[in-house]
C-alpha cells in the first residue's frame, strides 16, 4: 500500500455485530472523521476464529474462504475493531491454506491489508488524537491476541492519551489474560472465572471508572464479571471512548 488510503472496508466481527453495534458505529465515525470512505460488505459473517480455536480446522477454513471472498471484491485495506479477529486473519488465514490451495495466495493478500483499528489509525494514518473527550479515569486492558499476535502495545495507549481530559491509569499485571478464551470460558469455567477474578481485582484497585479494551470478546467477559460484582466500573471498547466528544 502506498500513500494514505482514501477508502477502507470495515470487518465488523460477529460479536460486535450482534452484541455491540455501537462499537461498529463508533469505528465508522472515527474513520469517516479521518476523511475515509468506509465500505461495509453486507455479506460478512464470522472470520472463523471460534472454530479454529476449537480445533475445527475444516469449518474454520470454510468460514475463512467466505470472508476472503467477501472482502476480496474491493482492494481497500480492511479495518477490524478487534485484535483477536485481526490476528486470526493476519496470522492464521495464511496457515489455513496449503501452497496448492487456490485460496493460499488470497489469504496472504488479505492478511497483508488487514489491520486492527488502533493499529490502522496509528501506524497507517498517523493519527495522534481522534477528537474524543472524557472526564473519566481510564484503564487499558491489552487483549492477548492483539498484544502478542499483532504487537498491539503502545498504539491504543497513545490514542487514549490523546483523548481530551482522560486520565489513564495502569492495571496491575496488565498483560495477564482475562480468562475469556472463547470456548475455554465454558469448558473450564472455574479456571476462566479465577482468571477473571484477578483481572477484576486489578481493575478495582486501579481506581479507573472505565476499563478499555480493543476486543468486545474480552469486554463481554469483563463486563459480565463487573456486573456480577455490582461494580460501577464500565467496560467499553476503545472505539467508543475515542469517538465520544461530549463531556459527561
Amino acid at each position: 500500500m502506498t500513500g494514505r488510503p482514501t477508502r477502507v472496508q470495515l470487518l465488523v466481527t460477529c460479536l460486535v455485530d450482534q452484541f455491540s453495534p455501537r462499537v461498529a458505529e463508533a469505528a465508522v465515525a472515527i474513520l469517516e472523521r479521518e476523511g475515509l470512505d468506509v465500505h461495509v460488505p453486507l455479506a460478512q459473517t464470522c472470520c472463523g476464529q471460534p472454530a479454529f480455536n476449537g480445533g475445527f480446522t475444516d469449518e474454520a477454513r470454510a468460514m475463512a474462504r467466505h470472508t476472503i471472498d467477501v472482502f476480496s471484491a474491493n482492494p481497500a485495506p480492511i479495518v477490524v475493531p478487534s485484535g483477536s479477529c485481526a490476528d486470526m486473519i493476519v496470522n492464521h488465514y495464511p496457515e489455513l491454506f496449503g501452497g496448492n490451495d487456490p485460496y493460499a495466495e488470497r489469504a496472504w493478500a488479505m492478511a497483508a491489508r488487514t489491520f486492527e483499528l488502533c493499529q490502522f489509525l496509528t501506524d497507517v494514518l498517523g493519527v495522534r488524537a481522534t477528537g474524543g473527550a472524557t472526564t473519566d479515569t481510564l484503564a487499558y486492558h491489552p487483549s492477548c491476541h492483539g498484544l502478542r499476535g499483532l504487537a498491539l502495545r503502545d498504539q491504543p495507549r497513545r490514542l487514549l492519551e490523546g483523548v481530551l481530559g482522560a486520565r489513564v491509569v495502569e492495571l496491575a499485571d496488565d498483560e495477564a489474560c482475562c480468562g475469556f478464551g472463547g470456548l475455554f470460558s465454558v469448558k473450564m469455567p472455574g479456571l476462566s472465572g479465577d482468571m477473571l477474578r484477578a483481572k477484576l481485582d486489578a481493575i478495582a484497585d486501579s481506581g479507573a471508572g472505565t476499563v478499555v479494551a480493543t476486543d468486545v470478546s474480552c469486554l463481554i467477559h469483563i463486563s459480565g464479571g463487573l456486573r456480577r460484582r455490582h461494580s460501577h466500573v464500565r467496560a467499553r471498547h476503545i472505539a467508543e471512548v475515542l469517538v465520544e466528544r461530549s463531556i459527561e
Binding site: H92, P94, E95, L96, F97, G98
Partner: protein, 240 residues
C-alpha cells in the same frame, strides 16, 4: 536389526514424514549460530584485564563467593594460608602442585602444619566407599583452573591426571587459584580460547558461585551438596 538401527530408522522415517508444514508452520533455520553478532572484547591489554578482574569479582561476590587478587606467588600463599586459618582447617585435598599456578603453595601449607590428604579412589566398590568416607571430614579443597569467565563469575575446571574432581566438590570450602591470563569476558570466549575444550578432560565443570538451592519456598540456601564457600584467587601477571 539392533535397537540402535530400529531407533535411527524410526527417526529417519519420522523426519521423512516431514510434518513441519502442519498449518504452514515451518521451523526455519534462523540465523546461523556464529552470526549472533556479539562483540568480542579484546582481552589482551592491561586495562581490559583490570576491567575483567573487576567484573569477575563483582559477579562472584554477587553470587556469594569471594575473589582475591595477588600479583605474586608469595601473595597467593598469604591469601590461601589466611583462608585456612579462617576456616580453622587442618586437612585438605588438592590438585597436584604442578597443576596449581603457584609454585611453593603446597609446601608452604605443609610448613604451616596443614595436611594434604592424597587419594586414589580404587576400582572396587568396598575400597571406593572406604576412601570416599575417609575424605568426607576434609575441610578444604584446593585446585587450579582452566579458565574464568568475568561476566558470570564462573570458573572452569578440567579433570585429569593430578586434577581430581573431588577437590572442588566434596569439602565445604573450595579455593581455586587461577591466572588472570585465563580470564575471559564471556562463556563463548572459553570455547574460542579452547577449541577442543572437551579434550582437556573427561570432566569439565563450570562452577558459578557456591552450591545453592531454592527448593523450599524459594528461600536461597548455600552449600546444599557442593561447597558452601568458594574462593577464587587470581594471580595477576605483568604483561609479557
Amino acid at each position: 536389526m539392533s535397537a540402535r538401527d530400529r531407533v535411527l530408522a524410526a527417526a529417519r522415517e519420522g523426519l521423512g514424514r516431514a510434518a513441519w508444514s502442519a498449518h504452514g508452520r515451518t521451523p526455519g533455520p534462523g540465523p546461523s549460530p556464529s552470526g549472533d553478532g556479539r562483540r568480542r572484547r579484546p582481552s589482551g591489554d592491561a586495562d581490559t584485564r583490570a576491567l575483567l578482574v573487576e567484573q569477575f569479582t563483582a559477579a562472584l561476590t554477587a553470587l556469594g563467593g569471594q575473589a582475591h587478587t595477588a600479583d605474586s606467588p608469595g601473595g597467593i600463599i598469604d591469601i590461601v594460608t589466611s583462608l585456612f586459618d579462617r576456616y580453622a582447617c587442618c586437612d585438605f585435598i588438592s590438585w597436584e602442585a604442578d597443576e596449581i599456578p603457584c609454585p611453593g603453595l603446597l609446601d608452604a601449607l605443609a610448613s604451616h602444619g596443614r595436611r594434604r590428604v592424597a587419594y586414589d579412589v580404587p576400582f572396587d566398590q568396598v575400597g571406593r566407599a572406604a576412601v570416599l568416607a575417609s575424605l568426607e571430614p576434609v575441610g578444604i579443597g584446593l585446585t587450579g583452573g582452566l579458565a574464568a569467565v568475568a561476566s558470570s563469575g564462573t570458573i572452569a575446571l578440567a579433570s585429569g591426571k593430578g586434577r581430581g574432581r573431588l577437590a572442588s566438590l566434596l569439602p565445604p570450602v573450595h579455593i581455586a587459584v587461577i591466572r588472570t591470563r585465563a580470564l575471559v569476558a564471556s562463556l563463548d570466549d572459553v570455547v574460542t580460547a579452547h577449541p577442543s575444550l572437551v579434550a582437556e578432560g573427561s570432566n569439565i565443570v563450570f562452577i558459578t558461585g557456591p552450591s545453592r538451592t531454592a527448593d523450599i519456598e524459594m528461600t536461597l540456601t548455600r552449600g546444599v551438596h557442593g561447597p558452601r564457600h568458594v574462593h577464587v584467587v587470581l594471580l595477576t601477571e605483568a604483561a609479557p
